[in-house]
């Protein structure tokens, strides 16, 4: 299974094996990684699974669609490399992916 590394805002790192086909958000929530709220449960409707994707991985994670872009527009601390973790599907190509959490989910 691919390994995803989640780094909390305080620097704590969690490397988790996540099954192919699950979202990066589900990988965190199912394994009790703190810092990802996922209030809407993965519908791209709340922006509380906001993560920063390490530049090396950004292209491999695909391009956000219109809905994701519009939700990210309302995230308090969005940057160029912001994504919603519920919209990134885990696959072998993402083995080793590193995502960082913002200070707070909003």
């Amino acid at each position: 299974m691919p390994t995803i590394t989640y780094i909390e805002f305080n620097g704590t790192s969690h490397s988790i094996e996540v099954e192919n086909g699950l979202s990066v958000m589900e990988g965190a929530v199912n394994n009790n990684v703190p810092g990802i709220d996922a209030d809407c449960g993965g519908s791209c409707a709340c922006a509380t699974c906001h993560v920063f994707v390490d530049d090396a991985w950004l292209a491999k994670c695909g391009t956000p669609d219109t809905q994701e872009k519009s939700m990210l527009g309302f995230a308090a601390t969005a940057q160029e490399n912001s994504r919603l973790a519920c919209q990134i599907t885990v696959s072998d190509a993402l083995d080793g992916l590193v995502v960082r959490m913002p200070e707070a989910q909003h």
Partner: protein, 417 residues
């Protein structure tokens, strides 16, 4: 009081013809009797059309969590625009409609929302935290022991009004005006309350606008600072608003920052009283405050619905919704949807996924102030637990005559001596 829906097959809600079910009737909300009608619709007609309501005209009811999510995300077909009548089941007379960003669609909505959003960004929230704690402590310490008082009047209203005053940097000594204006904005004329007619309401709005225009004029020529008036006056997307649009956005921010948190502050006390086992759980483990707060917000659902208007004919999960139809998303019902939320009629302070509720809405119109509201409620419960063995509800709460704002005008309580 606010007991969970106990299924009683002889209750009118379950026996009346389906096409007669009219869940938006505000009198039922005032009687605390609204839930069985939504439960009936969830079971028998989760997408339902009410032909006629004397106050609101015909409207669709969307009652399931997942259907509501679909409506929330399809902003092209399901418009929030004030020009179609806005975001509550009640239409204001056409000539009195008021633009505000919650009642706009992209792109104007997005641009205006982004102007005010930083007020609740992590940096500002951290700044507010100490202030909220200090005020909560002060309010709770001033409460009488061993005698009956109104929790709404002594706690919920003062705390939310002080918060609003800080958000607007509104003259503190005049802050009671804010909760007055909030009530005036949402109160139906039929409630027989302070607002006697739509003309009367317009007159009050005139007073509100005059007061805030003075604040705008002071701040527009000063450097921008983090208060809502200054942010609106300096924001690229808001600095050229018409007075009517300024009024609309003020009403939105006043009501949004006031009614919702106020009623959750009252509701929480009521639910803990009705569920002593859950209160005991929270008392034994104060770490549960965060999830208890989310559960209070779910269980209260302080805004019972949001409304959209169809901009075109659409086949929506087997139902023909026509252009111009009013579509009501019942958050109150989705929060009790057992296919998404386990044991939804029970109040449970340690739910597995407490944040999954729909009280803040979803999609681009999701509540801007949700994290601030949670912070206010969290501090209230932390301070309450630190001081009082319990807060007993000693009489029937009085509920508001509205199917939009789901709340309380009074809640008699007693703190043991």
């Amino acid at each position: 009081m606010n007991a969970p829906v106990n299924y009683d097959p002889s209750h009118e809600a379950w026996t009346m013809p389906l096409d007669q079910v009219d869940p938006a009737n505000p009198a039922r909300f005032m009687a605390g009797a609204e839930l069985p009608y939504l439960a009936r619709l969830r079971r028998d007609a989760p997408i339902h059309y009410t032909q006629q309501n004397t106050m609101f005209g015909p409207y669709w009811s969307i009652c399931n969590y997942n259907d509501i999510m679909q409506v929330e995300l399809n902003t092209q077909v399901f418009s929030s625009s004030w020009a179609h009548g806005g975001i509550s089941v009640r239409d204001r007379p056409k000539e009195l409609r008021i633009p505000m960003f919650i009642a706009m669609d992209p792109p104007v909505h997005d641009d205006q929302r982004k102007v005010v959003q930083p007020i609740v960004a992590p940096f500002n929230l951290a700044k507010f935290e100490a202030l909220i704690r200090e005020r909560t402590t002060m309010v709770l310490d001033s409460l009488p022991r061993g005698e009956t008082f109104d929790w709404v009047e002594k706690v919920s209203i003062p705390l939310t009004t002080m918060m609003l005053a800080s958000l607007f940097d509104f003259p503190f000594e005049d802050r009671a005006l804010l909760s007055h204006w909030s009530d005036c904005s949402t109160m139906p004329v039929e409630a027989n309350g302070f607002i006697k007619s739509e003309e009367h309401r317009e007159q009050v709005f005139g007073e509100l606008l005059a007061y805030f225009t003075k604040l705008w004029n002071e701040r527009v020529n000063e450097p921008a600072r983090p208060d809502l008036v200054s942010m609106l006056a300096h924001g690229e997307a808001t600095k050229n608003m018409t007075p009517r649009e300024y009024l609309g956005n003020l009403i939105l921010l006043i009501v949004g920052g006031n009614d919702t948190t106020r009623n959750s502050m009252s509701g929480g006390v009521l639910f803990m009283h009705q569920n002593p086992g859950e209160f005991a759980k929270l008392r034994a483990n104060p770490k549960l405050v965060d999830s208890a707060v989310s559960e209070i917000i779910r269980y209260q659902t302080p805004l019972a619905h949001m409304r959209r208007t169809a901009t075109q004919d659409i086949d929506f999960n087997g139902h023909k919704i026509r252009e111009g139809d009013k579509v009501v998303m019942w958050y109150l019902s989705a929060n009790r949807d057992g296919t998404v939320i386990e044991d939804p009629d029970a109040f449970i302070v340690d739910r597995k996924r407490p944040r999954q509720h729909i009280s803040f809405g979803f999609g681009i119109h999701r509540c801007v102030g949700n994290r601030l509201a949670e912070l206010q409620l969290k501090i209230l419960w932390e301070q309450l637990l630190a001081r009082f063995p319990k807060v007993e509800v000693v009489g029937e709460p009085k509920r508001v005559f509205s199917s939009f704002v789901r709340g309380y005008s009074s809640l008699p309580v007693r703190i043991p001596a």
